[in-house]
């Protein structure tokens, strides 16, 4: 085994280590869960953690690999969540199998988020740097407000959609029949959703996103994307199609966020669009930056730890978010301190080279 691994490329080893790590973590957590050894709050967090891991990994594709700052990632999650909820709930009678319905919901969420990603991406990716950041922020807010105005119901004739832009329309305007059900009630969001999300589905979603992203990054396209990040002009001059590769990374990232959103939406019986606001986008960005830009397994660990941390600090009660903020500032100061950096470099000399592309 050792001989064999020596022949593999270093990046390949890291990729496989990431896969194996996730599988092991899943097996351990699942066993603990089934034995009832986890606290209730932690069990309840398993699926959100899976969602946030996928969010972080997918945002890392935009921020770390493509090198464009996006402050509206939660918008794609929102699109995925609500389209996924609508898909799952409207197919409730047609497809009785829960896992199949969940899978369809995830795919629908991913597709809708990918469409949103394309719509946002085509005009926006012409902008650069902080201008791109503000526009993604703006799109996130727009998506939030648009979903807040949606009223969707379903009956035997199909989906009924009302767009409540003036604030005067209500559920009664849907024109549902007796058997109809309301799925999304405007500002009240999705209510009465059947929670069909499962930890296993979360694990599978993480594995799929890892396969997608790691393979993309190691492919010819991935190298083109990273070339764009490192020097756009040089990349353009050797014939790399800027829009194509930027859009490829951006849409892939949006689609995965949509799938994560669908899983998230189907984990809660009530969900409002304001959940996916600017703060959620920032939360995911924090995972990515703390985990290390372009570092996929770093994102996974950061997402897990930082989702558990506020819960773990519950003992501190009112002070927990204050402590979270202080921890955040101190970690950023420590990791960017020149003395600390040289210290880290001395402690783990091998890791330095990998950080760039691993």
């Amino acid at each position: 085994m050792k001989l064999k691994s020596r022949k593999l490329k270093k990046t390949t080893v890291i990729d496989f280590a990431t896969y194996i790590g996730v599988v092991l973590a899943f097996i351990i957590m699942n066993t603990l869960k089934n034995q009832g050894m986890l606290t209730r709050s932690l069990t309840g967090q398993l699926i959100p953690i899976c969602c946030y891991i996928v969010m972080a990994v997918s945002l890392n594709l935009t921020v770390g690999i493509l090198g464009e700052l996006s402050l509206g990632h939660a918008g794609f999650m929102s699109v995925g969540a609500f389209s996924g909820v609508v898909a799952a709930m409207s197919l409730q009678t047609v497809i009785p199998s829960e896992p199949l319905r969940l899978a369809i919901a995830l795919v629908v969420g991913a597709i809708f988020a990918a469409i949103a990603g394309t719509l946002v991406g085509i005009p926006v990716l012409r902008l650069r740097g902080d201008y791109l950041a503000i526009v993604t922020l703006a799109f996130g807010e727009i998506i939030k407000e648009l979903i807040n105005c949606l009223i969707i119901g379903v009956d035997e004739t199909g989906l009924h959609i009302v767009f409540n832009a003036t604030g005067t329309k209500s559920v009664n305007d849907l024109g549902l029949s007796e058997a109809g059900r309301v799925l999304i009630k405007g500002a009240q969001g999705a209510t009465g959703t059947q929670t069909i999300a499962s930890f296993t589905a979360g694990f599978i979603l993480i594995m799929i996103s890892l396969v997608v992203i790691l393979n993309l990054v190691r492919s010819r396209s991935g190298r083109a994307i990273m070339a764009l990040r490192d020097n756009r002009i040089a990349a353009e001059s050797v014939g790399i199609n800027v829009t194509k590769y930027k859009l490829m990374a951006f849409v892939t990232s949006a689609a995965l966020a949509g799938a994560a959103g669908a899983l998230y939406g189907l984990n809660f019986s009530n969900l409002v669009a304001t959940k996916f606001d600017f703060n959620t986008s920032i939360l995911v960005l924090v995972f990515v930056v703390l985990g290390g830009l372009g570092n996929i397994w770093g994102s996974i660990i950061a997402a897990t730890v930082l989702t558990i941390l506020p819960e773990a600090l519950r003992g501190f009660d009112d002070y927990r978010m204050l402590i979270y903020a202080i921890v955040l500032i101190l970690v950023m100061l420590a990791t960017n301190n020149p003395q600390m950096k040289t210290l880290f470099a001395k402690l783990i000399p091998v890791r330095r080279g990998e950080k760039v592309n691993g």
């Binding site: 902080d130 201008y131 503000i134 604030g167 930056v289 009112d318 978010m321 100061l333």
Partner: protein
């Protein structure tokens, strides 16, 4: 007449955005960082002025000055503790730190002053009635517009004529060249934060006077809007911040009145996106082509 009153409330709202945006734009121009904590400094300014008026019983002008002093100190302390060590760090690290500071301020305010909204008495009550009472303009909105113009003129003179102002402009163009010319870059940046935070305090008082309520998250949405205004007008440009702020306020107010209350923010952001697609550096921003 109805239109005129919406227009006036839009200009007044826009003036608040403009004052906040000035703080954003100055800090961005010099430190090249998005100071997400700026909106929360506004909130702190609001609380300080409220407490000094209600608990200490100070007259409003003294309360405003006190709020400005506290916010200035706060801004300089934040800059010194959290941002200064990160001068050489990548901009994303600074951004995350700014977000950390923003969380910190919000939660500190939550602990100190509670989560429930507090009623804020406008610093000047009353309004002028025009056209036989059909159009009423509150003194607060007149004061807001007046303050915005005064601040704008003062800042333009400051950056154009004084030594410190010239140092700021030099730093925003080229930090290392400015340092070679004997400018103390660190002090200049601290000074920028001080001015920006003092402006935030004024904006906080004016904002709370027109909304008449105050809670720990009061500053975040106006902060984002003002940031949008700064980008809209061309980030780094002082007249741009004014123009962007006022336009944004007018668009928001008219959209609320005539199109949809729910979608007012979306309309504002949509206008921003369209503007940026046509003019990638904002309305008055300078487009700097990349050097190869």
């Amino acid at each position: 007449m109805e239109f005129l009153s919406y227009l006036i409330s839009g200009i007044s709202l826009g003036s608040v955005y403009a004052i906040i945006a000035l703080g954003y734009t100055m800090v961005y121009g010099i430190a090249k960082m998005l100071n997400f904590a700026h909106g929360d400094v506004i909130m702190v300014g609001g609380y300080i002025s409220l407490l000094s008026m209600t608990s200490l019983g100070l007259p409003w002008w003294l309360a405003v000055i006190l709020a400005m002093v506290v916010c200035t100190v706060l801004g300089v302390v934040i800059e010194g503790l959290a941002y200064k060590p990160l001068r050489a760090a990548p901009s994303l690290a600074v951004l995350i730190t700014a977000i950390g500071v923003s969380y910190f301020l919000q939660n500190a305010a939550l602990l100190l002053w509670g989560a429930s909204p507090k009623a804020y008495t406008p610093i000047i009550a009353g309004s002028v009635k025009l056209f036989e009472g059909q159009l009423s303009i509150s003194y607060v909105s007149m004061l807001t517009v007046f303050m915005c113009i005064v601040i704008m003129i003062a800042l333009t003179l400051f950056t154009g004529k004084t030594r410190m102002g010239k140092a700021m402009r030099a730093c925003s163009e080229d930090k290392s060249a400015a340092q070679l010319m004997g400018i103390n870059v660190n002090r200049t940046i601290s000074m920028t934060f001080a001015i920006g935070s003092a402006l935030a305090a004024i904006a906080g008082v004016l904002l709370c006077s027109s909304y008449t309520s105050l809670m720990p998250t009061t500053g975040s949405m106006p902060g984002i809007k003002a940031f949008t205004a700064a980008v809209f007008g061309g980030i780094g440009s002082i007249p741009g911040a004014l123009l962007g702020g006022v336009l944004l306020g007018i668009i928001e107010s008219l959209a609320k009145a005539y199109i949809s209350t729910q979608l007012a923010n979306s309309i504002v952001f949509a206008v921003l996106i369209i503007t940026l697609l046509v003019r990638p550096a904002g309305l008055l921003g300078k487009y700097v082509p990349e050097k190869v």
